[in-house]
């Protein structure tokens, strides 16, 4: 019964994607395995690290804690699509330029968290930035340059 596959249509990065999924497959698994969108990462698979962040109808969610079958018609955006037609989005550019990327495994999750923040508030304070990334773990950077990158984007920091 566990191996029961169902047809699932997902709206991912503005494209309707039709795929066969296990009923208990998470959105993270389906994105990575079925749809070859490996930019979203699996860091813990239980919702703590934030490496699996995606946008669901514009809000930040953990793709490892969503079942693909439970997504319905809601629109998913992954890190592969945040730049649109440009090489990089402003958030991505800011992280690159600030030296905020080390091993990079947490980076897509931070890109999504900051994208959600800036969509909602183009000039966040340092406190708002820290709160927005409070659910993203980074083991390399100590968070300092990630916050600096966001502050520069917000036009507040040097």
């Amino acid at each position: 019964m566990r191996e029961h596959n169902v047809r699932c249509t997902l709206n991912v990065n503005a494209t309707m994607r039709d795929t066969l999924v296990r009923v208990d497959a998470t959105l993270l698994e389906v994105l990575r395995e079925n749809l070859d969108l490996t930019g979203t990462k699996r860091g813990c698979n239980h919702g703590v690290c934030g490496a699996c962040n995606v946008l669901l109808d514009g809000t930040l969610v953990r793709s490892c804690l969503m079942l693909a079958v439970d997504v319905g018609e809601r629109a998913i955006v992954t890190v592969e699509a945040v730049a649109g037609a440009r090489p990089f989005s402003d958030v991505q550019r800011a992280l690159i330029d600030a030296g905020a990327i080390q091993c990079g495994f947490c980076t897509p999750g931070f890109v999504m968290a900051l994208t959600a923040l800036f969509a909602h508030d183009p000039r966040p304070t340092r406190a708002a930035i820290r709160a927005a990334i409070s659910g993203n773990l980074c083991r390399c950077s100590g968070y300092v340059k990630i916050v600096e990158a966001a502050e520069r984007l917000a036009g507040v920091a040097p």
Partner: protein, 269 residues
């Protein structure tokens, strides 16, 4: 595994009335447990299409009715129109992380009844009433009776939480929620919710397997000492990886003092 997403409460309850059936609300706890192999439901009954479970609306008696599928993020943004709303919003703001708050629900959280969760304490302090619904009817249970133990509530197999009703709060009362955790976003070692109006309602979480009301506190006196005496009457608090029994016992009175103090400061004439 089966998955169904009914559109009515009645259909959902009927689907739940079978061995191995489990509710899927926000999924922030359930899917995590499934991923860790700690839960293996035979059937998932998703509540996401049931509009009746959503929405926040004032009640005729001046209180607030909050649909079970309201997310922590929505609760965090509740207008602080009343001390109860303020308290619930404060608790919602410190649940886990932003992405989890966007999906986790009030109903899902209280149905799980994790002793280290934030809402149960707030709801007991608020003296909220939990609306339960089944295929055959509805019943209301006061929050302080709803939670029975660790991951244990009065919910029967085929019942779900429909809404939480908060009573009209005392005029000008102040509310505060204090949470002690090892790192930000973590489960609480201890948490205290306080509403200070003409009288004081204080509930503590993490001190037992369910939230406890702390009675007999007089804000005009030494709250810390009073709390210590009251808590000393109770069985010893749990000890776990986060904190020992002794630590919880020593720190709880201070946390109560802080919550009461903050609630008192938040009052206005």
């Amino acid at each position: 595994m089966d998955y169904v997403a009914p559109e009515t409460v009645a259909d959902a309850c009927r689907a739940l009335d079978a061995d191995g059936s489990h509710c899927l609300a926000g999924g922030q706890s359930l899917v995590a447990m499934m991923n860790l192999g700690l839960a293996t439901p035979e059937r998932l009954v998703s509540l996401r299409r049931i509009t009746e479970l959503r929405g926040v609306a004032p009640t005729p008696d001046g209180g607030l009715r909050i649909g079970a599928m309201t997310t922590h993020a929505e609760l965090a943004d509740l207008a602080p129109d009343s001390p109860a709303a303020t308290l619930l919003a404060q608790a919602a703001r410190v649940v886990a992380y932003p992405a989890v708050r966007n999906r986790g629900t009030l109903g899902g959280s209280i149905a799980l009844a994790d002793p280290a969760a934030d809402y149960p304490v707030a709801l007991v302090a608020i003296d909220a009433v939990i609306e339960l619904v089944s295929a055959t009817g509805r019943r209301n249970v006061p929050a302080r009776e709803f939670f029975r133990g660790m991951f244990d509530t009065v919910l029967t197999r085929s019942e779900i939480v429909a809404a939480v009703r908060m009573p009209r709060s005392p005029e000008g009362a102040g509310a505060a929620y204090e949470k002690l955790s090892l790192v930000a976003g973590d489960f609480a070692i201890l948490s205290v919710a306080a509403i200070a109006g003409d009288d004081l309602r204080v509930a503590i979480g993490g001190y037992a397997m369910t939230p406890l009301l702390v009675a007999g506190l007089d804000p005009a006196g030494e709250v810390r000492e009073q709390a210590a005496r009251e808590l000393a009457r109770l069985p010893a608090p749990p000890g776990d990886q986060r904190a020992s029994t002794g630590y919880r016992r020593r720190v709880a009175p201070e946390l109560v003092r802080r919550a009461v103090h903050a609630a008192m400061r938040a009052r206005h004439a």
